[in-house]
Protein backbone atom coordinates (compact mmCIF):
# COMPACT_ATOMS: atom_id res chain seq x y z
CA UNK A 1 0.00 0.00 0.00
CA UNK A 2 2.80 2.35 0.93
CA UNK A 3 4.59 1.55 -2.31
CA UNK A 4 1.41 2.20 -4.31
CA UNK A 5 0.99 5.55 -2.63
CA UNK A 6 4.61 6.35 -3.44
CA UNK A 7 3.96 5.55 -7.14
CA UNK A 8 0.86 7.73 -7.09
CA UNK A 9 2.81 10.53 -5.40
CA UNK A 10 5.67 10.39 -7.91
CA UNK A 11 3.25 10.41 -10.85
CA UNK A 12 1.25 13.24 -9.30
CA UNK A 13 4.45 15.28 -8.97
CA UNK A 14 5.33 14.59 -12.60
CA UNK A 15 1.82 15.56 -13.70
CA UNK A 16 1.62 18.79 -11.74
CA UNK A 17 5.05 20.09 -12.73
CA UNK A 18 4.61 19.56 -16.45
CA UNK A 19 3.94 22.89 -18.09
CA UNK A 20 3.60 23.18 -21.84
CA UNK A 21 2.78 19.77 -23.25
CA UNK A 22 4.02 16.23 -22.86
CA UNK A 23 7.64 16.80 -23.84
CA UNK A 24 8.10 19.20 -20.92
CA UNK A 25 7.36 16.21 -18.72
CA UNK A 26 10.64 14.45 -19.56
CA UNK A 27 13.01 16.58 -17.46
CA UNK A 28 10.66 16.28 -14.46
CA UNK A 29 10.24 12.55 -15.05
CA UNK A 30 14.02 12.07 -15.25
CA UNK A 31 14.43 13.92 -11.95
CA UNK A 32 11.59 12.18 -10.09
CA UNK A 33 11.92 8.54 -11.17
CA UNK A 34 15.47 8.19 -12.54
CA UNK A 35 17.62 10.45 -10.36
CA UNK A 36 15.73 10.80 -7.06
CA UNK A 37 13.95 7.44 -6.77
CA UNK A 38 16.16 5.33 -9.07
CA UNK A 39 13.16 3.24 -10.16
CA UNK A 40 14.28 3.01 -13.79
CA UNK A 41 17.39 3.81 -15.88
CA UNK A 42 17.73 6.43 -18.62
CA UNK A 43 17.68 3.57 -21.17
CA UNK A 44 14.39 2.27 -19.81
CA UNK A 45 12.85 5.74 -20.01
CA UNK A 46 13.81 5.84 -23.69
CA UNK A 47 12.42 2.34 -24.33
CA UNK A 48 9.13 3.10 -22.62
CA UNK A 49 8.91 6.45 -24.31
CA UNK A 50 9.49 4.92 -27.75
CA UNK A 51 6.89 2.20 -27.20
CA UNK A 52 4.54 4.75 -25.64
CA UNK A 53 4.68 6.75 -28.90
CA UNK A 54 3.36 3.77 -30.86
CA UNK A 55 0.59 2.82 -28.49
CA UNK A 56 -2.77 4.55 -28.40
CA UNK A 57 -3.32 7.17 -25.74
CA UNK A 58 -1.30 9.94 -24.13
CA UNK A 59 2.45 9.35 -24.51
CA UNK A 60 3.52 10.55 -21.09
CA UNK A 61 0.69 8.75 -19.31
CA UNK A 62 1.69 5.57 -21.13
CA UNK A 63 5.33 6.09 -20.11
CA UNK A 64 4.33 6.51 -16.47
CA UNK A 65 2.12 3.37 -16.65
CA UNK A 66 5.20 1.38 -17.77
CA UNK A 67 7.16 2.72 -14.82
CA UNK A 68 4.36 2.07 -12.32
CA UNK A 69 3.91 -1.41 -13.72
CA UNK A 70 7.60 -2.15 -13.33
CA UNK A 71 7.47 -1.20 -9.65
CA UNK A 72 4.28 -2.88 -8.59
CA UNK A 73 2.60 -4.77 -11.46
CA UNK A 74 -0.84 -4.02 -12.88
CA UNK A 75 -2.11 -2.12 -9.87
CA UNK A 76 1.10 -0.03 -9.89
CA UNK A 77 0.45 0.86 -13.53
CA UNK A 78 -3.07 2.01 -12.70
CA UNK A 79 -1.81 4.06 -9.73
CA UNK A 80 0.71 5.76 -12.04
CA UNK A 81 -1.96 6.57 -14.64
CA UNK A 82 -4.31 8.05 -12.05
CA UNK A 83 -1.50 10.00 -10.37
CA UNK A 84 -0.35 11.52 -13.66
CA UNK A 85 -3.80 12.81 -14.66
CA UNK A 86 -5.00 13.82 -11.20
CA UNK A 87 -3.41 17.32 -11.10
CA UNK A 88 -4.74 18.20 -14.56
CA UNK A 89 -8.18 16.96 -13.57
CA UNK A 90 -8.29 19.22 -10.52
CA UNK A 91 -6.68 22.28 -12.10
CA UNK A 92 -8.66 22.27 -15.35
CA UNK A 93 -11.94 21.69 -13.53
CA UNK A 94 -11.24 24.67 -11.26
CA UNK A 95 -10.27 26.85 -14.21
CA UNK A 96 -13.28 25.77 -16.26
CA UNK A 97 -15.56 26.47 -13.30
CA UNK A 98 -14.13 29.74 -12.04
CA UNK A 99 -11.75 31.46 -14.41
CA UNK A 100 -13.33 31.88 -17.81
CA UNK A 101 -10.76 34.41 -19.08
CA UNK A 102 -7.77 32.54 -17.65
CA UNK A 103 -5.91 31.89 -20.90
CA UNK A 104 -6.49 35.43 -22.19
CA UNK A 105 -5.08 37.21 -19.15
CA UNK A 106 -1.90 39.20 -19.82
CA UNK A 107 -0.19 37.83 -16.67
CA UNK A 108 -0.82 34.21 -17.66
CA UNK A 109 0.40 34.85 -21.20
CA UNK A 110 3.64 36.45 -20.02
CA UNK A 111 4.23 33.80 -17.36
CA UNK A 112 3.92 31.15 -20.04
CA UNK A 113 6.20 33.03 -22.43
CA UNK A 114 8.82 32.78 -19.66
CA UNK A 115 8.00 29.13 -18.92
CA UNK A 116 8.37 28.19 -22.59
CA UNK A 117 11.92 29.58 -22.61
CA UNK A 118 12.69 27.43 -19.58
CA UNK A 119 11.08 24.39 -21.23
CA UNK A 120 13.46 24.83 -24.22
CA UNK A 121 16.47 24.72 -21.93
CA UNK A 122 15.10 21.79 -19.91
CA UNK A 123 14.36 19.76 -23.05
CA UNK A 124 17.87 20.54 -24.31
CA UNK A 125 19.29 19.20 -21.04
CA UNK A 126 17.02 16.15 -21.22
CA UNK A 127 18.21 15.40 -24.75
CA UNK A 128 21.84 15.82 -23.68
CA UNK A 129 21.32 13.20 -20.94
CA UNK A 130 19.43 10.78 -23.21
CA UNK A 131 22.06 11.27 -25.90
CA UNK A 132 24.67 9.60 -23.68
CA UNK A 133 22.63 6.43 -23.25
CA UNK A 134 21.24 6.20 -26.77
CA UNK A 135 23.69 7.53 -29.35
CA UNK A 136 26.48 5.07 -28.62
CA UNK A 137 28.06 4.74 -32.10
CA UNK A 138 27.96 6.33 -35.56
CA UNK A 139 25.04 4.18 -36.73
CA UNK A 140 22.97 5.47 -33.84
CA UNK A 141 24.05 8.99 -34.75
CA UNK A 142 22.68 8.45 -38.27
CA UNK A 143 19.37 7.14 -36.92
CA UNK A 144 19.15 10.10 -34.53
CA UNK A 145 19.82 12.64 -37.30
CA UNK A 146 17.46 10.99 -39.78
CA UNK A 147 14.58 10.85 -37.28
CA UNK A 148 15.14 14.37 -35.92
CA UNK A 149 15.27 15.88 -39.41
CA UNK A 150 12.44 13.72 -40.73
CA UNK A 151 10.15 14.66 -37.89
CA UNK A 152 11.01 18.36 -38.26
CA UNK A 153 10.62 18.59 -42.01
CA UNK A 154 7.78 16.18 -42.77
CA UNK A 155 4.32 15.38 -41.38
CA UNK A 156 5.05 11.66 -41.06
CA UNK A 157 3.62 10.25 -37.83
CA UNK A 158 6.16 9.31 -35.12
CA UNK A 159 4.81 5.77 -35.24
CA UNK A 160 6.51 5.25 -38.61
CA UNK A 161 9.84 6.56 -37.33
CA UNK A 162 9.69 4.28 -34.32
CA UNK A 163 8.80 1.20 -36.35
CA UNK A 164 11.40 1.86 -39.07
CA UNK A 165 14.19 2.53 -36.58
CA UNK A 166 13.36 -0.65 -34.63
CA UNK A 167 13.62 -2.58 -37.89
CA UNK A 168 16.86 -0.76 -38.73
CA UNK A 169 18.24 -1.80 -35.35
CA UNK A 170 17.43 -5.44 -36.04
CA UNK A 171 18.94 -5.34 -39.54
CA UNK A 172 22.12 -3.60 -38.32
CA UNK A 173 22.65 -6.10 -35.51
CA UNK A 174 22.05 -9.04 -37.86
CA UNK A 175 24.63 -7.65 -40.29
CA UNK A 176 27.12 -7.21 -37.42
CA UNK A 177 26.71 -10.87 -36.45
CA UNK A 178 27.19 -11.95 -40.06
CA UNK A 179 30.39 -9.94 -40.49
CA UNK A 180 32.03 -11.39 -37.42
Amino acid sequence: MKELFEIFKASFRVGIMTFGGGYAMLPILQREVVESRKWVSEEEVLDYYAIGQCLPGIIMVNTMIFIGQKRRGTIGGIAAALGTVCPALIIITVIAALLSGFADSEIVKNAFAGIRVCVCVLIFNAVAKLWKSSVIDWKCLLIFAAVALGSLLTDITPVIFVLVSALTGIVLKCLEVKNK
Binding site: D47, Y49, P56, I59, G77, L89, I95, A111, V135, A166
Partner: protein, 190 residues
Protein backbone atom coordinates in the same frame (compact mmCIF):
# COMPACT_ATOMS: atom_id res chain seq x y z
CA UNK B 1 -26.38 8.64 -19.28
CA UNK B 2 -24.33 11.50 -20.70
CA UNK B 3 -21.60 10.48 -18.25
CA UNK B 4 -21.33 7.04 -19.78
CA UNK B 5 -21.36 8.50 -23.28
CA UNK B 6 -18.58 10.95 -22.36
CA UNK B 7 -16.51 8.08 -21.04
CA UNK B 8 -17.15 6.09 -24.22
CA UNK B 9 -16.43 8.98 -26.61
CA UNK B 10 -13.12 9.71 -24.89
CA UNK B 11 -12.32 6.02 -24.65
CA UNK B 12 -12.47 6.01 -28.44
CA UNK B 13 -10.16 9.04 -28.65
CA UNK B 14 -7.74 7.32 -26.28
CA UNK B 15 -7.88 4.22 -28.41
CA UNK B 16 -7.41 5.81 -31.81
CA UNK B 17 -5.14 8.81 -31.21
CA UNK B 18 -1.55 7.70 -31.53
CA UNK B 19 1.40 10.08 -31.23
CA UNK B 20 0.74 12.82 -28.72
CA UNK B 21 -1.77 15.34 -27.41
CA UNK B 22 -2.30 17.21 -30.67
CA UNK B 23 -3.42 13.93 -32.24
CA UNK B 24 -6.63 14.26 -30.22
CA UNK B 25 -7.65 17.47 -32.04
CA UNK B 26 -9.21 15.98 -35.19
CA UNK B 27 -11.23 13.63 -32.98
CA UNK B 28 -12.55 16.57 -30.96
CA UNK B 29 -13.72 18.35 -34.12
CA UNK B 30 -15.44 15.18 -35.18
CA UNK B 31 -17.05 14.81 -31.76
CA UNK B 32 -18.29 18.39 -31.94
CA UNK B 33 -19.97 17.64 -35.29
CA UNK B 34 -21.64 14.50 -34.05
CA UNK B 35 -22.72 15.38 -30.51
CA UNK B 36 -23.09 19.17 -30.48
CA UNK B 37 -21.65 19.15 -26.93
CA UNK B 38 -19.37 22.06 -27.80
CA UNK B 39 -18.50 24.37 -30.72
CA UNK B 40 -15.27 24.76 -32.73
CA UNK B 41 -14.66 28.06 -30.89
CA UNK B 42 -14.82 26.24 -27.59
CA UNK B 43 -12.18 23.79 -28.85
CA UNK B 44 -9.87 26.73 -29.56
CA UNK B 45 -10.49 28.08 -26.03
CA UNK B 46 -9.85 24.66 -24.55
CA UNK B 47 -6.60 24.40 -26.43
CA UNK B 48 -5.46 27.78 -25.08
CA UNK B 49 -6.30 26.75 -21.50
CA UNK B 50 -4.67 23.34 -21.98
CA UNK B 51 -1.46 24.92 -23.17
CA UNK B 52 -1.32 27.28 -20.22
CA UNK B 53 -1.84 24.77 -17.41
CA UNK B 54 0.21 21.81 -16.20
CA UNK B 55 -0.41 18.35 -17.58
CA UNK B 56 -0.48 16.61 -20.94
CA UNK B 57 -2.63 18.48 -23.47
CA UNK B 58 -4.80 15.47 -24.30
CA UNK B 59 -5.75 15.04 -20.64
CA UNK B 60 -6.47 18.74 -20.24
CA UNK B 61 -8.69 18.72 -23.30
CA UNK B 62 -10.63 15.70 -21.99
CA UNK B 63 -11.11 17.26 -18.55
CA UNK B 64 -12.19 20.61 -19.97
CA UNK B 65 -14.62 19.08 -22.47
CA UNK B 66 -16.06 16.77 -19.84
CA UNK B 67 -16.60 19.64 -17.43
CA UNK B 68 -18.23 21.99 -19.92
CA UNK B 69 -20.50 19.15 -21.03
CA UNK B 70 -21.53 17.57 -17.74
CA UNK B 71 -19.79 19.19 -14.74
CA UNK B 72 -17.33 17.53 -12.35
CA UNK B 73 -18.58 14.00 -13.01
CA UNK B 74 -18.23 14.70 -16.71
CA UNK B 75 -14.61 15.76 -16.40
CA UNK B 76 -13.89 12.63 -14.37
CA UNK B 77 -15.61 10.39 -16.92
CA UNK B 78 -13.87 11.95 -19.93
CA UNK B 79 -10.41 11.82 -18.33
CA UNK B 80 -10.80 8.22 -17.18
CA UNK B 81 -12.16 7.41 -20.65
CA UNK B 82 -9.12 8.76 -22.47
CA UNK B 83 -6.61 6.88 -20.27
CA UNK B 84 -8.46 3.54 -20.07
CA UNK B 85 -7.25 2.14 -23.44
CA UNK B 86 -3.66 3.17 -22.63
CA UNK B 87 -3.77 1.36 -19.28
CA UNK B 88 -5.12 -1.84 -20.83
CA UNK B 89 -2.79 -1.82 -23.83
CA UNK B 90 0.40 -0.86 -21.96
CA UNK B 91 -0.22 -3.62 -19.43
CA UNK B 92 -0.76 -6.14 -22.24
CA UNK B 93 2.41 -4.98 -24.01
CA UNK B 94 4.40 -5.29 -20.78
CA UNK B 95 3.36 -8.91 -20.32
CA UNK B 96 4.48 -9.73 -23.86
CA UNK B 97 7.66 -7.66 -23.59
CA UNK B 98 8.75 -9.29 -20.32
CA UNK B 99 8.73 -12.66 -22.00
CA UNK B 100 10.98 -11.48 -24.86
CA UNK B 101 13.18 -8.99 -22.96
CA UNK B 102 16.30 -11.14 -23.32
CA UNK B 103 15.58 -11.99 -26.95
CA UNK B 104 18.39 -10.66 -29.12
CA UNK B 105 16.02 -9.33 -31.80
CA UNK B 106 14.15 -7.32 -29.19
CA UNK B 107 17.47 -6.00 -27.90
CA UNK B 108 18.49 -5.11 -31.46
CA UNK B 109 15.18 -3.31 -31.99
CA UNK B 110 15.80 -1.21 -28.88
CA UNK B 111 19.31 -0.43 -30.11
CA UNK B 112 17.66 1.28 -33.11
CA UNK B 113 14.74 2.69 -31.10
CA UNK B 114 16.70 4.63 -28.50
CA UNK B 115 18.44 7.10 -30.84
CA UNK B 116 15.13 7.48 -32.73
CA UNK B 117 13.37 8.29 -29.49
CA UNK B 118 16.03 10.88 -28.64
CA UNK B 119 15.68 12.28 -32.17
CA UNK B 120 11.93 12.74 -31.79
CA UNK B 121 12.41 14.57 -28.50
CA UNK B 122 15.12 16.78 -30.01
CA UNK B 123 12.80 17.68 -32.91
CA UNK B 124 10.03 18.60 -30.47
CA UNK B 125 12.52 20.73 -28.56
CA UNK B 126 13.46 22.60 -31.73
CA UNK B 127 9.78 23.36 -32.37
CA UNK B 128 9.50 24.84 -28.88
CA UNK B 129 12.61 26.93 -29.57
CA UNK B 130 10.91 28.43 -32.61
CA UNK B 131 7.89 29.43 -30.53
CA UNK B 132 9.76 30.58 -27.44
CA UNK B 133 12.99 32.15 -28.68
CA UNK B 134 12.32 33.36 -32.20
CA UNK B 135 9.92 35.92 -33.68
CA UNK B 136 9.28 34.25 -37.02
CA UNK B 137 6.01 36.19 -37.45
CA UNK B 138 7.64 39.57 -36.85
CA UNK B 139 10.50 38.62 -39.20
CA UNK B 140 8.02 37.78 -41.97
CA UNK B 141 6.43 41.22 -41.53
CA UNK B 142 9.57 43.38 -41.34
CA UNK B 143 12.09 41.21 -43.18
CA UNK B 144 14.80 42.51 -40.83
CA UNK B 145 17.22 39.79 -39.81
CA UNK B 146 17.65 41.36 -36.36
CA UNK B 147 13.93 40.86 -35.74
CA UNK B 148 14.20 37.08 -35.93
CA UNK B 149 15.52 36.80 -32.41
CA UNK B 150 13.49 37.44 -29.32
CA UNK B 151 16.37 39.07 -27.41
CA UNK B 152 14.85 38.97 -23.91
CA UNK B 153 13.96 35.30 -24.33
CA UNK B 154 17.45 34.46 -25.63
CA UNK B 155 19.11 36.16 -22.66
CA UNK B 156 16.84 34.27 -20.27
CA UNK B 157 17.64 31.01 -22.10
CA UNK B 158 21.40 31.65 -21.86
CA UNK B 159 21.14 32.37 -18.12
CA UNK B 160 19.02 29.24 -17.55
CA UNK B 161 21.43 27.11 -19.56
CA UNK B 162 24.32 28.34 -17.42
CA UNK B 163 22.42 27.80 -14.15
CA UNK B 164 21.19 24.30 -15.04
CA UNK B 165 24.38 22.93 -16.59
CA UNK B 166 27.50 24.64 -15.34
CA UNK B 167 26.83 26.67 -12.18
CA UNK B 168 27.47 24.21 -9.34
CA UNK B 169 25.26 25.73 -6.58
CA UNK B 170 22.12 25.67 -8.77
CA UNK B 171 22.88 22.75 -11.12
CA UNK B 172 21.22 20.13 -8.94
CA UNK B 173 18.06 22.10 -8.15
CA UNK B 174 14.71 20.60 -9.10
CA UNK B 175 13.57 21.73 -12.60
CA UNK B 176 10.38 23.22 -11.11
CA UNK B 177 12.51 25.91 -9.42
CA UNK B 178 13.68 27.13 -12.83
CA UNK B 179 10.16 26.89 -14.29
CA UNK B 180 8.76 29.02 -11.45
CA UNK B 181 11.58 31.56 -11.73
CA UNK B 182 11.05 31.80 -15.50
CA UNK B 183 7.31 32.38 -15.03
CA UNK B 184 8.16 35.25 -12.68
CA UNK B 185 10.68 36.71 -15.13
CA UNK B 186 8.03 36.41 -17.84
CA UNK B 187 5.49 38.36 -15.79
CA UNK B 188 7.95 41.08 -14.72
CA UNK B 189 10.07 41.55 -17.85
CA UNK B 190 8.35 40.22 -21.00
Amino acid sequence: MIILRLWWEFFKIGLFSVGGGMATLPFLYDMSDRTGWFTYDMIADMLAVSESTPGPIGINMATYTGFTTAGVLGSLAATLGIITPGIIIVLLVVSVLDRFRENRYVEAAFYGLRPASTGLIAAAGILVIEIALLNTELFKKTGLFADVFNIKALILAAILLFLTRWFKPTKKLHPIVFIAASALVGILVF
